[in-house]
Symmetry: C2
Subunit: 211 residues, 2 copies
Amino acid sequence: MSKNNNKPIEIPKPTFERLKKYHALLLQEKDKEYISSEEIAEKLNITPEQVRKDFTYLNINGKPKIGYHIPSLEKELSEFFGTWILDNIIIIGAGNLGSALAKYKGFKKIGIRVAAIFDNDPEKIGSLVGELSVLPLAEIKRVIKRFKVKIGVICVSENSAQEIAELLIQNGIKAIWNFTPVNLQTPPGIIVENQDITTGILTIKHLMEKE
Amino acid sequence: MSKNNNKPIEIPKPTFERLKKYHALLLQEKDKEYISSEEIAEKLNITPEQVRKDFTYLNINGKPKIGYHIPSLEKELSEFFGTWILDNIIIIGAGNLGSALAKYKGFKKIGIRVAAIFDNDPEKIGSLVGELSVLPLAEIKRVIKRFKVKIGVICVSENSAQEIAELLIQNGIKAIWNFTPVNLQTPPGIIVENQDITTGILTIKHLMEKE
DNA sequence: TAGATTGTTAATCGATTAACAATC
DNA sequence: TAGATTGTTAATCGATTAACAATC
């Protein structure tokens, strides 16, 4: 029986978001070999049925009475997200956030390596952020080619975000991870993922208001 | 006609998330006085119908042929999220991420003030992060009381996250903004908002894989 | 075998979209 | 007035939940 790896069905958005949570959860569960849908559900405050339903979108098989084999689950989710492929990223903006990201330890296990960090402030250029030396924007072109970078992270001020996005796209970047609140205008085919840092605290504020 | 401000209908989760986006978008639109649902929709890649439907959950009224009055929209959303109330927060962990958050400029406009930053590393205690001096954990109790802090931000390492959460809750914290990938165990009534920083890049990786 | 848990189909529930009347 | 855009109801679509058969 040959492996059937065509995936004809598009994954629903809510399921996609939960797959990320399963992925994160499993990276924490290193002590056990098997885990049941019941157990996963409890930790994430959802129902076991939902967990099993979500897993039908992947090539995942559990064993009745035992549960799901954690390493296999992990492998499947890792393939789904492509975390076993190493992607080089570049960070534009060596301010607080950019620097913190450049030094972030958690990227390794999801297949991300920070190739370089850039800034246009002469005072910052040449200074060290972790093990990286801050490079001038003029170096972007070279670094993208050299490290085959497809993902750019924008951590600059709001008023230069659009400009930087265009610069990145001109130089062949395919995906932008945008940490500014600016709605970037980009041509079709470019992936833009907005990571508004304030989003979580807005939920907290709203929930607290009701009490 | 008296203002009817009972809000009997619970807001759907997807609508809630979009309200955050409208809120962020409006903070960018300072040049115009009115904006149409069409215009909002275009910028956020959704439909105008959805925008109008979402607004029915708030006390928002647009004018046919003109659109929505931006300052009023902003005020309504600000009340919804409680961004006009100033909340003091404390940050635990003065590493890269904790320090970046402590210095983050965007908190002010959503009604957040960082009251203090803590660490248990003797080398960090007393050092400056922006305008704040890093305090030892022993000071947490006092600071929470003094500044009536209800929100705690966890930026420590994975293995002390749970412990810190318990410490915060013991000292009266009502909501936790968790930047670690750990699934915190908390008593009922405590709000926990997990802000997994890697979530955005997983989406990017998955989308890129398909091409 | 009996029991527990998976996997899947059908039923329900909720959100989005479409249609159109109201209105500035 | 005519036209454009809002606001709302009804129809559709999609996701979740429930039920239960399959299976280790």
